[in-house]
Amino acid sequence: MTITTPGVSPVTVTSGITLSVDGVDITVPKGTLVIRAAEQLGVEIPRFCDHPLLAPVAACRMCLVEIEGQPKPQPACAVTVAEGMKVRTQVTSELAEQAQQGVMEFLLINHPLDCPVCDKGGECPLQNQALSHGRAESRFTGVKRTFPKPINVSAQILLDRERCVSCARCTRFADEIAGDPFIDLLERGAKQQVGTSSDQPFDSYFSGNTVQICPVGALTSAKYRFRSRPFDLISTPTVCEHCASGCGLRTDVRRSTVLRRLAWDEPAVNEEWNCDKGRFAFGYAAEGRLTHPMVRDESGELVVASWPEAMSIAAAGLRRAGSRTAVLTGGRLTLEDAYSYSKFARSVLGTDDVDFRSRPSSAEEIEFLAALVAGKPVGPTYAELESAPVVVLAGLDAEDESPMVFLRLRKGARLTGVKVFTVAPFASAGVAKVNGRVLTAVPGAEAAVLDSLADEVSGARDENRLEAARLLREPGAVLLVGERLAQSPGALSAAARVAKATGAALGWVPRRAGERGALDAGAIAGLLPGGRPITSDAARREAAAVWGVDPASLPGSPGRDLGAVVAAVNADTKAIAAAAKPSDVVRSVQALLIGGVEANDLADPAAFVAALDAVPFLVSLEQRHSEVTARADVVLPVAAVAEKAGTFLDWEGRPREFAQVFREALTLSDSRVLAMLAAELDASFGRGDIASVRGELASFGSWHGDRAQAPGHAPPEAPSVGSDEVVLATWRQLLDRGLLQEGDPFLGATARAGVARISAARATLLAVATGEAVTISTATGSITLPALVTTMPDDVVWLPANSDGSNPRVTLGAGHGDIVRISGGVV
């Protein structure tokens, strides 16, 4: 089969083939389909089933052309070119034109006259091609076949069966691209229809793509059904804010409301696909937003204030705290906004207590990122994943945490034989779909498994490890590490050792869209923009030159990360409570400036909330009400992604710039608010508008000076696990209870049901079977979920994080790698 990716030559190129299309000669690579050769000449052959990223199937028969020497018209989408072939399309051949008109007439026999109520009306290939390649009058006067309509193939995807032309684009997409063959063509002849199995709805993470590629209106989404017409919509190319995949999207707006988002054609990143979260989860920005600045009045209530009032109170508080302010940003900021926080902290406040990692993290991770990721050029890339001999995933479940990485791995595994290994406790659904093999690691023991790959001979005992270790040494091999590895001590050090020992390219795949950008912008303790170490005089001089400040005014030693800041606040609180004269104790953190941090994302939500309560001054830049705004002294509303322009760096490090969707938006970006705050503090900061921030970032350039060494931490001893205890493995699934998925019930209904995965031996020990309840508990609380018996180590249990009925961080106070108790039944 030929893979024709737009802009990339097919992989089976061996020599040129010359053929003629409508009498014009053209030379194309061997294996090219006739329909593509014709496209290159500008001849558009009508088609429905043909899609450049799906295997040819010739199901709709619309693309019939005359090929000299063939007795009957041939489908151009399924015939590959041959030397000297003479193709005549509808442009020059009456036979081809008549054949196409005949096919169109057949397709329309049972197609209902739904156009006025059909969402596809106005952007419908069937509508368009019926006009351009069909007969003006139908000769069919009988009664059309009808079905009850619409039916739900999932909570989100609706199917009108009589509109279907059986092109099989959706079923081929689900089968080939997503690997979720939950929909298929059922029945035969006129009764042929797309359907699901009665016990398995079409709950695929990628189901929304089928709506987009359906060439008729047979598949529609509950979210967009009857909402609008194509001519109502103002479209803007944007980039998805939900994960670090960096998908290009098209955002469609009607009357200042986002109505839908489509995957945009971005061959180097998301090809033409995206995930359902990126497609459907945009309601969060429409409801419950903060609209005005708020300040605390004398009675302690938050009241609406004017911008100048809020600014002057915020500035006064920050001026008092000065360099004893810590700046905590979430992982969802754009590169420009993260840069502004980074600059504000260093040049205005003079503090290096900055951290963008609003999630469980470690000091080892900072060392790892500083040495190997921050400010590095783009790479490894999606294209490299597709052609790598091997991709080893560590602490990363690609399908749940970076869906486009998963789709590329699946494409590579299916078409070019990429071998995938994952360092994980078990093979998740996503691993099976990329033919992945598991290098079994109990949470916390990832470092040991990775180290065995670094050493080809002695450490690698089992067959999979031997093969992975061997393949990693081949050119083009890739090692991808996820953010979860930060929770496993020594694992990131081990990953760095493996990359160094084998020569494999090392990629860091965070979960959130803004993390890579925030890292490169220096929104983390110890690093200035571009990966410049703050301890380096040269780096501080470069930063000071761009910022127009005295280099001596910038902090010269690494500050504290989020965990250390929270610990310092709480330790001071304790000291004050214990001190005979509380006023003698001077807090080391006097103020917090927080932008977009959610307490439940952190390793210890309770400690964070306690710190928020205790800190003398708290400024919150937020879009919506949160636990932080509830405790803030000043709340400043900021723009959501659609209301500002910006850039996300995807996991590759590729800048993904996007434009403002709501050009008339009155909300201010974080950068603008920080610039106003800096002006109130009489600091030189700049205007904070998108152009000037991008200009400053560009003038930083790349860093060629010294970097920190990769961390060399040794893995700790494996903890001892009691007989009724197990090690908790947990991560967030793609669709969870994330705040950015609020406001979309149809999407939420397609999320995977929560289960507790345990091994067969553990199930026997607890006397439970798949589907029966198991309870996982700690001193803090307990979670009961139905068991799912899985091939995995006996001393591990897996729970979904932040899901309905399962949020181990909050309920159990435990995270990935912690020890929990397990028992059968409901306790």
Binding site: P116, V117, P150, F226
Partner: protein, 197 residues
């Protein structure tokens, strides 16, 4: 008579001859005359014989409009509230008469004959808002045999029956539902929010 005098009286001949012709001046507004039957006046959103709306919210009228005078938002008919036969109805329907040029392309585009034009031409007003007609301004009157939506379709019929004109009047269940909803005693499916409101 000199040449000048002849010219003088010839000039007065025109008004003099007019004095004996029929007067075409209309004494509007005291005396209102009917327009031609196909005169393009104010629009009307029609109903089926049982009171359900014909509009399906397809926006083809808005699409056809050369002056961008029409704004439509479609929505789903639900078990709770049904405004038209079939799946879809026009939730928002506005015509801006400051923009409308009365060309009639919209009524030609309408696939269900929901939108037609009346002979009503008295459309002057003194505010912008008053000249943007909402759906309730445009909907046709409730005639004998109709029940005010929302209410269910005639039992056992489909939207095709409505389109083919097989529905002639509201049946007892529909009248009962409309009346019960009006009095707030409706016990069938209903929108909870509406109850609290």
């Amino acid at each position: 008579m000199s040449e000048d005098q002849r010219r003088f009286f010839r000039g007065f001949g025109v008004p003099f001859s007019q004095m004996f012709k029929r007067v075409t001046t209309e004494q509007y507004p005291e005396d209102k005359r009917p327009t031609q039957p196909r005169y393009h006046g104010r629009h009307q959103l029609n109903r089926y014989a049982d009171g359900l709306e014909k509009c399906i919210g397809c926006e083809l009228c808005a699409w056809a409009c050369p002056a961008d005078a029409i704004y439509v938002e479609g929505a789903d008919n639900t078990e709770v509230e049904r405004f038209s036969p079939g799946e879809r109805y026009g939730r928002v329907y506005q015509i801006n008469y400051l923009r409308c040029v009365f060309c009639g392309l919209c009524i030609e585009a309408c696939p269900t004959r929901a939108l037609t034009m009346t002979n009503e031409y008295e459309l002057a007003d003194d505010t912008r808002a008053a000249l943007i007609y909402e759906k309730h301004d445009l909907l046709g009157p409730m005639l004998t045999g109709m029940a005010a939506p929302p209410h269910a379709m005639v039992p056992g019929t489909t939207d095709t029956d409505y389109y083919l004109g097989n529905i002639t009047h509201a049946v007892a269940t529909q009248v009962g539902e409309a009346e019960a909803r009006r009095l707030g005693t409706w016990t069938g499916p209903r929108d909870d929010e509406e109850v609290t409101a």
